[in-house]
Amino acid sequence: MNNKFNYYLKGKKGEYEVVIGLEVHAQILSEAKLFSPSATKFGQEPNSQVSLVDAAMPGMLPVINKFCVEQAIKTGLGLNAKINNFSIFDRKNYFYADLPQGYQISQYKNPIVGEGKVILDMPYGTKEIGIERLHLEQDAGKSLHDQDPNNSFVDLNRSGIALMEIVSKPDLSSPEEVSVYIKKLRSIMRYLNTCDGNMEEGSLRADVNVSVRKKGSKDFGTRCEIKNMNSIKFIQQAIDFEAYRQIELIEDGKAVNQETRLFDNKKQETRSMRSKEDAHDYRYFPDPDLLPLKLDSDFIENIKKKLPELPDQKKQRLINEFKLSSYEAGVIISDKETSAYYENVAKNSDYKLASNWLTVELFAVLNKQNKNISDSPVSSINLAKLINLIKNNTISGKIAKTVFEEMVKTDGDPEKIVIDRGLKQQSDPKELEKIISKILENNGDKVKQYKSGKEKLFGFFVGQAMKETEGKGNPNLINDILKKMLK
């Protein structure tokens, strides 16, 4: 399972490979925060979802949200990772306006989830990405810097929301792999309902560690961490920029500084975050307000038993059950809603046609309309109906496309569309025989030519028949009748 595709960057003095590791912060789907009972809804009035604990009032104490622990375990299981029966919450100490306690409660030496792995489907085959760990921690609040020239504004609604920090090994070697990796993580978490993966709302953010090394080298270069990215496109751009920046430094004989950088998507460049530099001594120590988290094996087993089907399992099942190709199955399972949609259509019609109609026709429409499958203009029931109309010869594949266009516009029932618009296929052999014999009568010379060997004219007769039936003639029947009559 090695990387068959090598992504090399050209410098002036040779080729380089890029080594990437990701720290993904995934917001846990839960009603309440990790250590307090305030709500986690997005986009509410400032400071309206803040408890005494979140505002770090004197004497306030954290209490662990059990559901968030379960969510982390579920996700860990989804990453094929080791769940640790014993984990510790630590304090990471630093000052910032949106960090009310002056420390973030996180997990340092003893995370709740240990090593795991994620399989990526790349065009050049599968690639395994190692997971270093997953730990629980609380989110910070939000500071707004552009409301006022002299002041910053602080909203603590996000403060204390549960995050899972998923740390990968430095196994990623191209922006493309990073994109697929993030999408795969998102897909796993959506299957599990542990994170909605909404990057625009910040439910999924990544710190990207980038270093470069000479092609073929086994050593690691000095890495830079690009902080807090919430767009796959920008992450890819940032990696490229950062890799070339480092290559240039190396080729100029300069050192790469290990530092934290920010990506400016307008300028398309990364730059050093000076403010972070002196704050690097986080003085982690176990939070004395919280006892170590000791989990019974039963507790973990119960979660395991209730685990839903995961993307990799579903893919295998679709391949077995519906004879899909690995590629087709991969496309369909990449998203939980898409796969549910597919299964609905496939089970109620024809699995092969279902895959085609979904991944070709419907995907094209969704792409064009910039929509998700969950707000598809064509419901799975209606798509299944359409496919059944094709299968039982009520309409031809060609007419089906017309019907589909109509369905996209109106979300209509295809059976009704076919009736209303008189699109039903003409499949009465006697009727068709009548029409065809008339065509043959009117084209005696062409019949003669055909019979004397100009077999290409067969298409002409089919075309005439379709024209006469306004496209509704059953093409198979027309073929059969023509063959018989032209003998």
Partner: protein
């Protein structure tokens, strides 16, 4: 280990505590005497000892995932030195 002026400056910075040279001088003296005092622990062999971070022998309390409503104006912002439209206001953060 001795605590120098640089150490005092560094840890004051980390602790976000303003200093002046008088304070720094006092702290060099005080902190060195405290460090000398706690360095008594070096007499002990602790190689095989497990650290103790809590004397509590019970299992951690876990909370159910339930929301409790707070009243921002009364409970959260009432004591704030400065706020504006429900935001806390602080002097500009320099990135």
């Amino acid at each position: 280990m001795t605590i120098t002026k640089d150490t005092v400056k560094k840890i004051s910075k980390l602790s976000r505590i303003s200093t002046n040279s008088k304070f720094e001088e006092e702290m060099i003296k005080d902190l060195n005497s405290i460090i000398k005092f706690v360095d008594q622990l070096n007499e002990l062999n602790i190689d095989k000892v497990e650290p103790l971070s809590s004397v509590v022998n019970e299992k951690a309390t876990l909370r159910e995932d339930e929301v409790k409503k707070m009243n921002a104006k009364n409970d959260i912002l009432k004591n704030s030195p400065e706020d504006n439209e429900n935001y806390y206001v602080v002097p500009k953060v320099i990135e």
